[in-house]
Symmetry: C2
């Protein structure tokens, strides 16, 4: 799906939902790390935190990829993981919405 298939209104909706998901996941991650950090007792706890951050960083860098060609897949993933709800994409055309919904169920 190319950028040309997205209207300006759809782009705005998509960008808002994308940013929302991003902000929520960042917030949750920050909270989780703060909590984990407050319980650090020994060196192995630190390296566990390091491993955790390595994994999340890798995951984050791959996941938040705002390209129209993959955006429906990205949204489906974000819905699956609970960062956005399908209804936050209301306003996209029915075809896009049903594709996202179907992908999110897979």
């Amino acid at each position: 799906m190319s950028e040309a298939e997205w209207t300006d209104i759809e782009k705005k909706i998509a960008r808002t939902a994308f940013n929302q998901a991003y902000d929520r996941e960042v917030e949750a991650l920050l909270k989780q790390v703060r909590e984990q950090a407050s319980t650090l007792v020994e060196l192995s706890d630190l390296w566990r935190l390091h491993d955790f951050l390595s994994a999340r960083r890798y995951e984050f860098e791959g996941k938040y990829d705002y390209q129209y060609s993959v955006l429906l897949f990205v949204f489906a993933g974000l819905i699956k993981e609970g960062w956005i709800d399908l209804n936050e994409l209301d306003g996209l055309d029915k075809d896009k919405l049903s594709k996202v919904a179907a992908l999110a169920r897979m």
Copy 2:
């Protein structure tokens, strides 16, 4: 310098000083990470913490190498960085002590 050149008493002194340095550095690192974690505000702060942990982990794994062949160098480094004081090695023979002192000044 081989293990044979260390008396049992010297080994005990060395092991104690080594463990002291290790415990102090771990404690300082844990404190530093707890503090850094309490000020996390955005994702870039997290990745900065991750970079910091990557560097410290690499450094730690190389540094705390308890082998008699390199122990005088290890102690010199630990003194230089302030994790132990030369007088915590009192009881090692004069030759070892002066080597460590000289290396620590380099």
